[in-house]
Amino acid sequence: MLLSEVCSILDARVITGEDSDVISNIDIHMACGCDLMSDVLAFVKDQALLLTGLMNQQVIRTAEMMDIIAVCFVRGKLPADDVVELAKKRGITLLATEHPLFSACGMLYDNGLRGREHG
């Protein structure tokens, strides 16, 4: 699923400033919805999108370590400037949606995006 489709499904906006051409060229293979970074670190896949309600710099560092290419903040919360700046430096695209975590994950799943099967 393209990141532009994720934005459209979740009615999300891009907060790291990439334009629509860039978003249309980012391909997401799977997603993970989680507020526990240690659980995210136990989940290894390429081209992943992380959906989370956690708002600190460690979200970006976790994404960096896992090569997660985009993070979507849920429940209408917006990260502080230092978090956005770190994401820009690390080349991670940040999105924000008003939908809560469970609903956002469900909407993406409904449209064909999958997570890790089990284990």
Binding site: L36, R61, M66, D82
Partner: protein, 138 residues
């Protein structure tokens, strides 16, 4: 090649800087992506542990011809029961740490999962040393 990092025990926002720097170096050198992933996850978890449990310390990360060896040393309270600390889900983290997204009791099990060898030496009241080894080739 050895990189030395000082790790603050109070600066949670910057926890992960050492792992980030070492990852960038491995990438520049051309170390295989799957190895970099394993090193990054294990090193980052250990770095977070050094901040949240070890009250800070230092890290030496060494790239050898066939492996990466990373040593974290802290002067924190030490681990009372290492066997128990290794159990997935067991944690002594405070609510404050949990609110930051860590302390789920997955740190040490994750490190073990992504390394070829992990050695922990700890003395209560003196501190902990964790040595991680990741082979570059299968």
């Amino acid at each position: 090649m050895v990189k030395h990092y000082e790790i603050s025990g109070t600066d949670f926002a910057n926890a992960g800087e050492a792992s980030s720097d070492f990852k960038a170096m491995l990438k520049k050198i051309g170390v295989p992506t799957d190895v970099i992933r394993k090193v990054s996850i294990a090193m980052y978890e250990a770095e977070i542990n050094t901040v949240i449990h070890g009250q800070g310390g230092y890290c030496d990360a060494e790239l050898q011809p066939d492996r990466v060896i990373i040593t974290f040393t802290d002067n924190g309270p030490g681990i009372e029961d290492i066997e128990r600390a290794m159990q997935a889900g067991y944690s002594t983290a405070t609510d404050e740490i949990r609110n930051l997204g860590f302390g789920a009791g997955m740190g040490l099990p994750n490190i073990k999962k992504y390394t070829d060898d992990m050695q922990i030496e700890s003395e209560v009241g003196k501190g902990t040393t964790v040595v991680l080894t990741i082979k570059l080739f299968k």
